[in-house]
């Protein structure tokens, strides 16, 4: 490159790619994140898309966005506000207007800002004028025209050519942030192996975008974000759903059991079933059931037969599984139920995030029906918590519900690839073949887990089911005192899981004015907000829960060292109310949000300031 480049060094940057749901914004964002990872940045992403596959073109409802936050130091959230917005049409600008940082860069496809596009987005006049964008660095690039131009000589049809226009935008952003094109070009080579035309078109358009930015005065200076200071090792990109599926596979391997998954597709949980179905190489038996009830019932059957049984779903599906979860509680079979939460009730906001299934997980069943409840808190730690969910289920002979949510399920992070030798063994309760006089409900004295005899084992034939069981023999019993005893022991068994789970950790001082409490997928935003305020000298700390039932043993002790406690969650206060019941010595303030969106660090900080 001949032109002297003015380069500005930055700590971190938030870019939001935004366009029609058919414009390929998810792919564009993913490719940018991958390249950023490969040049050594840490990042966090937030795909945000409508529930329709092809919502009405050009409208605000049809806008699909992908936000990526990358930086030189550790990144915990996809960021609240964008430094760069790529708006492929006026609707994308309208949808994201309030998420732009003052003075930020806005790249628009000026070709789409014609009368038709402007009207469709619901504007009456040119939004660049109307939205008073003069305070921003607006770059009007005729992306559509230039894309057409770039592939003109190839003689491909216009429609195919126009599919690459997202790559023009990506090319521009690559120039802006000094990123190499190489990794994206390699992606085209493998992805479109059988379509050389498509490879060529994408390459040309990507390059054209890059060159356009380079020659355009408006885009100097360009920026650079130097590599993050992260641990040495092998890294990969992973989203929460994939990490969940892989964590379950890791547990099956450690338990020396085959994995069975019985599930029914549902957003945003489907990828877990897809990931596991792809793992026939690891012997996974995947069963796409006729509904969620069959999903869990096949899983219970497989568990009865001695496999590691898993079922994955989202809120409405969890509702359908309720009765069968009760059966697994009664039969004391180890299964893992993954619930990727989304906006509810009913169909609600299928593609948006929420934490409103907590009570459903804890209590949404008939009878006294205790289960262990865990919640993962970042895309990558879905792996560890899925692993732990399975370990607890298998070692304690109980159903375990793992809660994740749409935000961490779809969000991606670079992940230092772990080694299986660093993970603990899982000792199942499968009874030894030599054990004589097997009693189906005889229990381990420590954990209260019953022994697991599998069909096919000689001399251990027994019957289980949903009717109340005799305390030892497991045969049907309607005896009043036996029911009391069994109800108590099922509850106690779940409570004793406390003995194997880690203590609650505190980020910041162990005592202070304000303890911020969160659980599950809000970790990144809470952590960022708390850290930033700590850096400003404020005396607040964060306690974030991954273990919901039972709560970590030191919960009370942690809470007792703070003057005030505020529980932040994406619902109307379910965890706060649970704590009021389980840890009733304390007063809990609440900060709640139900907009289908994660918290922003900014709004959290504003809230916390009120208590300090």
């Amino acid at each position: 490159m001949s032109k002297a480049k003015e380069v500005v060094e930055l700590e971190e940057v938030v870019i939001r790619f935004s366009g029609d749901s058919g414009d390929g914004m998810q792919l564009t964002g993913t490719l940018f994140s991958t390249t950023s990872a490969l040049v050594g940045n840490d990042f966090s992403t937030f795909p945000d898309y409508p529930s329709e596959i092809r919502a009405p073109q050009g409208t605000v409802g049809g806008v699909s966005g992908f936000q990526v936050h990358f930086g030189h130091s550790k990144i915990f959230t996809p960021g609240d506000f964008s430094d760069v917005l790529i708006a492929m049409n006026p609707a994308a600008l309208k949808a994201n207007r309030k998420w732009m940082k003052p003075g930020s860069i806005v790249i628009v496809d000026s070709d789409s800002f014609d009368e038709k596009g402007i009207t469709k987005a619901g504007y009456t006049e040119d939004p660049i004028v109307k939205e008073k964008l003069d305070k921003f660095n607006v770059i009007k690039a005729p992306i559509s025209t230039l894309t057409k131009e770039a592939v003109k000589e190839m003689g491909i049809d216009a429609k195919t050519g126009m599919r690459s226009k997202n790559m023009f935008a990506l090319g521009m952003v690559y120039w802006l942030y000094n990123r190499p094109l190489k990794h994206t070009e390699e992606f085209f080579q493998t992805k479109f192996k059988k379509k050389p035309d498509v490879i060529e078109a994408n390459k040309r358009v990507l390059k054209a975008g890059y060159n356009y930015a380079y020659t355009m005065e408006a885009m100097t200076p360009s920026y650079t974000v130097s590599p993050a200071e992260i641990d040495k090792g092998t890294y990969r990109n992973i989203n929460g759903n994939q990490a969940t599926a892989w964590g379950l596979l890791a547990a099956a391997e450690k338990a020396k059991l085959k994995l069975f998954v019985g599930s029914y597709p549902i957003t945003p949980a489907t990828v877990i079933l897809e990931e596991l179905a792809a793992r026939k190489d690891l012997g996974v038996k995947s069963f796409q059931a006729e509904d969620e009830i069959a999903g869990i019932c096949t899983t219970i059957g497989a568990s009865f037969a001695g496999l590691m049984g898993v079922t994955s779903t989202s809120g409405p599906g969890l509702a359908l599984k309720s009765e069968a979860i009760g059966l697994a509680v009664m039969a004391e079979l180890p299964i893992v139920i993954v619930n990727v939460q989304r906006g509810g009730p009913s169909t609600g906001l299928p593609t948006k995030t929420e934490q409103s299934d907590l009570f459903q997980a804890l209590y949404g069943r008939n009878g006294e029906s205790p289960v262990v409840v865990l919640a993962a808190s970042t895309p990558t730690n879905c792996f560890d918590h899925a692993f732990m969910a399975a370990k607890i289920a298998l070692e304690h002979m109980t159903p375990v519900i793992l809660l994740t949510d749409g935000f961490i399920a779809n969000g991606t992070q670079p992940w230092k690839v772990p080694s299986m030798k660093d993970y603990p063994d899982i000792k199942t309760m499968i009874v030894s073949k030599d054990e004589e006089d097997y009693q189906p409900y005889a229990r381990d004295v420590e954990t209260l887990a019953r022994l697991w005899a599998l069909p096919g084992m000689k001399g251990k034939e027994h019957r289980i089911g949903g009717l109340e069981k005799d305390f030892i023999k497991g045969s049907v019993s309607h005896d009043p005192l036996n029911h009391q005893k069994m109800t108590d022991v099922r509850d106690e068994k779940v409570e004793r899981v406390v003995n194997m789970i880690p203590d609650l950790e505190v980020t910041g001082d162990k005592e202070g004015d304000l303890l911020v409490v969160g659980w599950g997928g809000t970790f990144g935003h809470l952590h960022t907000a708390v850290k930033e305020m700590q850096n400003e000298g404020k005396k607040l700390s964060l306690a974030h829960f991954n273990y919901i039932r039972p709560l970590p043993a030191n919960t009370k002790e942690v809470f007792s060292r703070f003057k005030k406690i505020i529980v932040c969650e994406l619902n109307l206060g379910q965890f706060a109310n649970y704590l009021r019941m389980k840890q009733s010595d304390f007063k809990y303030e609440q900060f709640n949000k139900v907009q289908g969106l994660p918290f922003t660090a900014t709004e959290l900080k504003d809230e916390f300031k009120k208590y300090l």
Binding site: A289, G301, F304, A331, E461, R463
Partner: protein, 338 residues
């Protein structure tokens, strides 16, 4: 796998639980027939798993000294599917009622059959909800008065055979609760068949629907009103074995041998393994008084099973797989070094 063990008798399959069905309930005799069939199959006791839903009939597994799972209402087919797919070596039996299988569990019933998982499904059809004390079921005849239909039902019943064959069922048989010999034979056939074997058991509920099958099963009329089908044998019935079935155009027709020049040679030969479901459907749909009711194995056609397809897909993929364990998986695809 199927190691011969001739020492077992039907008594070996009795559990220590007291059998709690009403005295005179058809379920008692069926229990006996199943125990006989299992002894006859010569498989090890521990290889049998019985999975049921909820209903009087679904208490069945408690009375068997095998592996058993009393599930939840309507879901036995799904639970049994999980058991069989998890361990195809097992002999998996589903025990279900007309309400359990065809009302609340209708969806799982048809999908089990469509998938053709190797499960023997015993459908106890007493045309009533027994356990909940006498409400009409999806198989109750139109007009039946019950507690929830005091003026008679206004809905058309399912015929389980038609439904099973319509769901691409490859095996369908029917038996009468009190016919131990036929039931035992049919259960053995069902167990030997690879794939979902649906056996409809016409079962008398002495308390809430007593005598529902008398019309076809009373001693005096039985032979005239039932036809017991045997693969390869002509479709002949009647006390004098003087009646038979022929195809008349697109329909079955009852004829008398010796009348109108009809001889035994004109009578249809039962081919349970006929792939085209047309005749099987007609046989399953025969109703008194136009026809005798068909018992025995009506359809038995070989087809690949889901459980075996699953095993072979896994072993084929594993043989060629680059990923052998989770560490391989974690390092597969795009990774980079820092």
């Amino acid at each position: 796998m199927t190691e011969q063990n001739t020492k077992l008798t039907f008594k070996d399959f009795k559990s220590d639980q007291e059998v709690r069905w009403c005295p005179g309930c058809g379920d008692h005799i069926v229990l006996n027939s199943v125990q006989r069939a299992m002894a006859e199959l010569g498989r090890k006791k521990e290889d049998f798993a019985l999975i049921s839903g909820i209903g009087c009939s679904s208490r069945f597994p408690y009375y068997m000294d095998t592996y058993g799972f009393h599930g939840i209402h309507g879901r036995a087919a799904a639970i049994a599917s999980g058991v069989k797919v998890a361990n195809p070596q097992l002999s998996v039996w589903e025990v279900t009622g007309d309400g359990d299988a065809l009302a609340i569990g209708g969806n799982h019933f048809i999908h089990l059959i469509r998938r053709n998982i190797d499960i023997n499904l015993l459908l106890f059809n007493n045309q009533i909800y027994g356990l909940t004390k006498g409400q009409y079921s999806p198989t109750s005849k139109k007009g039946t008065t019950t507690k929830t239909s005091p003026f008679g039902t206004i809905e058309t019943p399912f015929n389980p055979g038609e439904l099973a064959i319509g769901a691409q069922g490859k095996f369908f048989a029917r038996t009468m609760d009190n016919n131990v010999k036929l039931s035992t034979e049919v259960f053995v056939e069902a167990a030997k068949h690879d794939g979902t074997s649906v056996v409809e058991i016409l079962q008398n509920c002495v308390i809430f629907n007593d005598g529902i099958y008398n019309e076809i099963n009373a001693k005096e009329v039985r032979e005239e009103r039932q036809i017991i089908l045997k693969h390869g044998a002509p479709m002949i019935f009647g006390k004098e074995r003087d009646k038979g079935l022929i195809l008349d155009g697109l329909k079955l027709k009852v004829v008398r041998i010796g009348e109108d020049g009809i001889t035994e040679d004109d009578i249809l030969i039962h081919k349970a393994n006929e792939n085209n479901p047309g005749i099987a459907m007609m046989l399953a749909n025969m109703r008194w008084p136009n026809y005798p009711v068909a018992l025995g194995v009506i359809r038995s056609v070989n087809a690949p099973t889901y459980d075996m397809a699953m095993e072979s897909q896994i072993s084929k993929i594993q043989a060629e797989a680059k990923i052998k364990n989770v560490d391989d998986l974690l390092h597969s695809g795009n990774t980079w070094e820092v």
